[in-house]
Symmetry: C2
Subunit: 223 residues, 2 copies
């Protein structure tokens, strides 16, 4: 989870069905700019896995096109220190992470909303890039999603911090290609020690549960 | 972790410096075909994060190029059931996972070698797509890498299976942009219960440690 610099509660935006008026706790993706390019890049990642080495794919041409795009992006990138400073300014804090970030093509992305009872909730459907066992979500991907979601739940529910300990229990295989519900809530705060729980469910049944211990400290933002 | 279908020990290939003759436990990436396209896609993912909304980037054109590639891949993809069956045949088992897979652009990818003492070891340097706190690896990404590595260690050391429980302890922040060493070894087998440990280190110091309980059962491969 990010170092407590996540800005939650960006306003009472309209959530998904059944969560109307539940505040959105992640960055809203834009329809243009880098978010649109990232959205297309997600389709490329999934498409490469879906197509494989299919005959007629002309993978040499595909590779050349992707290299041209990568060369263009790298030629326009500022130096790393300057980019990190910009990333960690203002609204940028929620835009680049590998779980919810609209600027990160690795992120599914997961959308999370804050509930009135202090918990948070989101839904996501995962495809081939997130596969572990045949047709099912990789256990480590579930861990990634839950670590991040527990961190966001801390921002919504009270003090937040960095993960100190995280325990995942895998109760049944988590399916790909079906809507998953992810929930989390902060359960206690004892000085700097924060305890938070969460779960991933499919079809109303818990697949993976998580318990996290977080410490209320944060790494400095780059200048 | 994959459902025990990983094929380990693809031969005594030459490993990295200091691990000469240590068997490679992951698929060898090819210089052409889908692996080359995936390698370029990784550069696109990182390039989008490195460049952001930089002036002069012509992101509309970038987006159009990526959409064209995605459309082409999707048009050539077989139906999902057929693709899953092919993925889980023969050598394909190690090619698509989100940690080591040369066909998965989400994978850093991590390279792992089997050691004579029954442990396994790998090195990886992570960039912007894997960021959590400023300049550091996302705790959930460390969990993803460790879950997978513990599973591969089971294949190398003895019986293997699916993750039942995984505990991560975050001892110090894990840096981006520096070589990380990932190690794991199976420590006990009691009937179907397998216990495995691992760690991510940077500069000789442990950043994250993991303890896993795995159950020696596997999901069926698709027909």
């Amino acid at each position: 989870m990010s170092a407590g610099t996540r800005e939650t509660g960006t306003g009472h935006q309209t959530g998904e069905t059944g969560r109307r008026d539940a505040p959105l706790l992640v960055a809203t993706p834009h329809d243009d700019g880098v978010d649109a390019a990232v959205d297309a890049a997600r389709r490329v990642i999934a498409g490469l896995l879906a197509a494989g080495d299919q005959t007629g794919l002309e993978l040499g041409a595909v590779t050349a096109q992707l290299i041209a795009v990568a060369d263009h992006l790298e030629a326009h990138a500022p130096d790393r220190a300057a980019r990190l400073a910009v990333m960690w300014q203002g609204e940028g804090v929620t835009r680049h992470d590998p779980v919810t970030g609209p600027e990160n093509a690795i992120a599914p992305p997961l959308t999370l909303h804050g509930m009135d009872d202090g918990s948070i909730q989101g839904t996501v459907t995962l495809g081939l890039p997130y596969q572990g066992p045949p047709g099912h979500v990789h256990g480590g991907v579930s861990a990634l999603l839950l670590d991040h979601t527990l961190g966001v739940a801390n921002h919504w529910g009270g003090p937040s911090g960095m993960t100190a300990e995280l325990t995942l229990r895998y109760r049944r295989p988590t399916p790909l290609f079906e809507p998953l519900t992810i929930t989390a809530r902060q359960v206690s705060v004892d000085g700097s020690r924060i305890r938070t729980v969460g779960a991933i469910s499919a079809g109303g049944r818990e697949c993976v549960t998580a318990e996290g211990l977080f410490i209320n400290k944060h790494l400095p933002r780059p200048d």
